[in-house]
Amino acid sequence: MYGGDEVSAIVIDVGSYSCKAGYAGDDTPKAVFPSVVGSIEQTEGTDDSKPEKEGDSAPDSKNGAKPMDVDKAKTKRKLYVGQELEFRRDHMEVISPMKDGTVTDWDIVDNIWNHAFRRRLLINPEEHPMLIAEPSTNTAQQREKAAELMFENYKVPALFLAKNAVLTSFASGRATSLVVDSGGGSSVVSAVHDGFVLQKSVATSPVGGDFLTDCMMKSLESKGVVIRPRYSFKKLEISPGEYKIVDLDLPNTTESYRLYCMRAIASDIKESVCRVPDTAFDEVAYANVPTTSYELPDGQTIEVGADRFKIPDILFNPALSQTIPGVDGFSDSTSVRGLQRMVIDSVNRCDVDIRKELFSNILLSGGSSSILQLKERLEKEVLEESPQAARVKVMASGNSVERRFSVWIGGSILASLGSFQQMWFSKAEYEEHGVSYIQRKCP
């Protein structure tokens, strides 16, 4: 038991797209930054790349992540987290700690946590209980790894691992629901019953916001649109109000950094113009839809037509992405299902007694749930494929902040409750029972 409710707990949710961190009890996370990091291999001593912008040198020198890098002699790389990623650096690759929604590189996660605690929240993790939101797909080994890192490296006084889907379900007032979490790197459907994730019901797909962004980018490219990342040009004012774009030659920029910057633009285009079509996308029917204009950072204005509807429809029909030139096929295309299919499959893997309840409590969450008309379309599609007796109801919080941060908000409220203070997995328990005790304390 951990009895320290006088210091506020920290809630952290590292998603595949962004990391959300903040103080328990707050309405929204204080720090939200990308979950990808910049990495420069430090193979030769002479290759210590000098930051080319003055602003960079200050954060570099007091980079809290540094000691960690020194420890990891085998990787020998310097990682740039958060805003440090906004500056282009020679030879800097952009890498992600996750693949398909689960952690594959703990060293990066460690750096992200460190950045969140020491640079953004400015706290000493040894003084604060930590509530970590974790994906439903996390394995027992991954949970133990997270707990071990927290207790050994950060010396936290207490820890709790809460499942994303459970937090979303609770934050909507439901102990039983079907959570459709469409995030950046993946979409996950999980049934929650009486506060437990039913593991056999969990369905995942690599089609999330990042994939849609890639499709948008490739589709624009195929139409001849050139997206210029902001770092690659200068704007010169040739006369008042009139600008000339001058391309910069930066040969040491990595392909992954170029892509990262282009994706940021494509993602904004997606968020600004896209809308889920009412029925399955049809190339012919949408050929003449009115276009919407969008101004790129370099000043050129593009017109987006059918893609406004086609891109989000990929959530329901992943095969549609294969009609876009340049989009990679799925490694195992048979397992990639549309959202509606995932919902039906997930419900069907649950006990017959609770299926009706699940169908009428479908909760939409995650960043991609903000796409217009997604809720309506999902409801319509599920209704068509579900048993007749089921009353299908899809819900999303009307508040876009609550929808995007539902997991973090749920964790924030939970960790701030006086009654919750007895639920933590404390340092003393960790020392007495070992790391595997996390499975008992946070089932």
Partner: protein, 151 residues
């Protein structure tokens, strides 16, 4: 214990009133709430034996979460067409205790979170609930829905 359970306690009065309803059939329903300090579940209202389902729904706030138990009386047999054909019109009275988790969409996210994360722990404290009902709007909490769940 469910994942991410709140640890909210249950007052003895809750269990006592529930037992009076279950074993003594002294009440039709009991409404519970979590106290203002968010530490424990306490009794909010008790419905007399002659009260109906409408009285229960009327005692739930439109924009606040609550838990409730309701003693649902109904009959089985008799009504079925097949049974009538065979001349068996035997109506058997039955009753089931229904647990209601009321979390209207208009309630604030804090109270939704606290009620939902305390629900499993509270239900465990009440021994003898037979039917579960979670409702987020009045249309999900009607006598028809109740009958459907209890069937």
């Amino acid at each position: 214990m469910a994942n991410a359970a709140s640890g909210v306690a249950v007052s003895e009065e809750c269990v006592a009133r529930f037992q009076e309803l279950r074993a003594g059939r002294a009440h039709r329903f009991v409404v519970f709430k979590i106290d203002d300090s968010l530490q424990r579940v306490v009794v909010d209202a008790v419905g007399p034996r002659d009260a109906g389902f409408d009285a229960l729904t009327a005692s739930l706030p439109a924009d606040g979460c609550r838990y409730a138990v309701y003693d649902h009386d109904f009959t089985v047999g008799g009504g079925g067409a097949q049974a009538q054909q065979q001349g068996e019109v035997v109506e058997a009275p039955r009753s089931k205790i229904v647990f209601v988790a009321w979390a209207p969409a208009t309630a604030d996210v804090r109270s939704k979170m606290v009620y939902a994360s305390s629900c499993e722990g509270f239900k465990k404290a009440l021994d003898g609930v037979q039917v579960d009902l979670q409702a987020t709007e009045p249309s999900e909490l009607t006598l028809d829905v109740l009958r459907e769940h209890a069937a």
